[in-house]
Assembly symmetry: C2
Homo-oligomer: 350 residues x 2
DNA sequence: GTGAAAGCGCTAACAT
DNA sequence: ATGTTAGCGCTTTCAC
């Protein structure tokens, strides 16, 4: 690396001490206007810019926010990260992204990230907190904000998954469906569990008996079972039943898409379907779903983190967004009620 | 931040000097096995882990790779970043992501990122290099790899956009279309320009006259014109013509999707259509397109960057991927030739 | 093989 | 308002 101007060069050239230069670059009020100007001019001429690493070391605080993201494959993370970034620009932090290919390596990453001096704070995404992780995080005393997952001991921004599951199921019921199946993700997935709870509540409330045969969990170990293939085979299982469900709630859009493919292949397009997430594709295929305010979640998460970095002892602050029901063709009124008004016939899947 | 063990604590506890501890953690061969073991044991007990910032400062090299991404909104970046991350794990670098909300702020970000000591290298995405940027990057002497854009003076991984445009157009011609329009992005967009070149070459080769009326540039300033709305209004323009084109090549899938919506609204589904990118949605709506090997591009980009960091003077190395034609229903043989075998009727757009 | 000591570039008391 | 100086936690000669 080429030799570049340091604070000493500036001090020399401007005829002041390094302390003064440092003060200028830290916006200290204890510098006269004329000195400040002189230093700035010289600095510009020499192309000086403070060395962030040296600064971090001397200040004993890092300038990095770490985002720890397991399996960063969905549009969800992109949107949330956009929100994070947009809140970040006004701060002097940089965003370092640690994504992992599988859930197994998340703990290594996490251990890495919470080392002293590595980051000012961490945004932990979609990772269920068991006792061990909780202990690790707490003992590190790192500012942490949970995103897309909930734990009472940490700041968090998430959505009300139970409510979402309830809304989805309730919507199907209102559309006239009665035999409503659910496609869940892995048994260990917290969002999936919550959404299923909502599903049960809606059924209960409507006086519809809960039927285990209408619950199909994804056994796909990838992505916690949030995959197209998982949705497809779950739906195939439903279609193989003597009396398939007349509607299905898939706990994610990506699974719903797989399910949709299975439906089309079997010509079972009259089955009502609703997903969860409102990924980009969903509007194109007319999939009803629950939308998460992803961008907003990112903004809020970062703000919470910044606030906690400033005041580590402040009380826990959590934000629970409500999902929004997005009604499209896939949950058109049940055949018994009314014909599908916007049948989903059109997926030209290749 | 809680007081944590430093190299001095370890040295004390192990009865050696800090130099020795440092050597242990830098895998220096000049330390006896027994000392090494002792240090390691003590370090583990005290939960010591080297301070990355201090290390960076002392070593005069940073541990951060910066990815500079203008308008990180598309799935493309997610996939590329996955490739980058997966190549990153074996190195001791971290990935810091600088994305910008608009193209205007990219230069600020860039200036920021190439400051001395900020990053070991930078991955610059999708940013056309004018003289000013080129000068800036070169004078910074930072290792840089360009992604999704080409410039002879830098390492780069990109795809052959001209070839892609050629392949797209040629495919439409082979399917029997003759009056082929093109929807481009902003005039300043390098990929768009290249793809249009390929379009012209294919026409020329087939003896089809180039017709200015069949070229519609996007005037949408957002995202360089790579937007759904831009595609939609361009297609509307085509449909308003006395003799609309019988097929259209949109230089991105996202524009093609907008175009598709316009076609459906006007009932003009017989028009052949092909996009570019193969975004996730495309397979669901049956959009023919050119696929970019995104994940692979990420891997290669990072490898190139790592290599250049090690050997700054090595010759420029560029990788030009070939796009792959993905044929779906939207480019079914022209009506004159054969009926659309897989008509795209199914977009239930809400 | 190991230690002493001089940095890396900056910040932050403490002086003046 | 400005300068002096002692760190921040580590690496790296240079001795021994």
């Amino acid at each position: 690396m080429r030799k570049e101007a340091t604070i000493y060069d500036i001090a020399n050239a401007a005829g002041v001490s390094i302390a003064t230069v440092s003060r200028v670059f830290n916006n200290s009020p204890r510098v006269s206007a004329s000195t400040r100007d002189r230093v700035c001019v010289v600095a510009r001429e020499l192309g000086y810019v403070p060395h962030p690493t040296a600064r971090s070391l001397a200040k004993r605080r890092s300038h990095w926010i770490s985002a720890v993201i397991p399996m960063m494959t969905s549009y969800f993370y992109l949107e949330v990260l956009r929100g994070v970034q947009d809140s970040l620009v006004c701060s002097d932090y940089d965003l370092v992204v640690h994504s992992t290919a599988s859930m197994e390596t998340i703990d290594d990453q996490l251990a890495n990230v919470i080392q002293r001096g590595r980051s000012a704070g961490v945004l932990l995404f979609s990772t269920p907190l068991d006792a061990e992780r909780t202990r690790l995080l707490q003992s590190s005393r790192q500012p942490v904000v949970l995103v897309d997952v909930y734990h009472s001991d940490f700041d968090a921004v998430s959505i009300d998954n139970e409510l979402g599951g309830y809304m989805a199921t309730r919507h199907l019921i209102e559309q006239g469906y009665r035999r409503i199946g659910i496609i869940t993700a892995n048994a260990a997935s917290a969002p999936s569990i919550e959404r299923e709870k909502g599903y049960r509540r809606a059924l209960r409330e409507a006086g519809i008996a809960y039927d285990e045969a209408l619950v199909r969990a994804s056994d796909d170990p990838d992505y916690h079972g949030f995959t197209e293939d998982a949705g497809r085979s779950a739906m195939e299982g439903f279609l193989d039943m003597d009396t398939p469900p007349d509607a299905v709630f898939a706990v994610s859009d990506i699974q719903a898409l797989g399910a949709l493919q299975a439906m089309q292949e079997r010509g079972a397009t009259a089955i009502g379907l609703i997903g969860f997430d409102d990924i980009m594709i969903s509007k194109y295929v007319g999939l009803s779903t629950l939308r998460q305010p992803m961008y907003e979640m990112g903004r809020v998460a970062l703000e919470k983190l910044l606030r906690r970095i400033e005041a580590p002892e402040r009380p826990i602050s959590q934000m629970h967004f409500n999902p929004r029901l997005v009604v499209r063709g896939s949950s058109a009124p049940a055949a018994g009620e009314l014909a599908h008004s916007t049948p989903i016939t059109g997926i030209a899947y290749v």
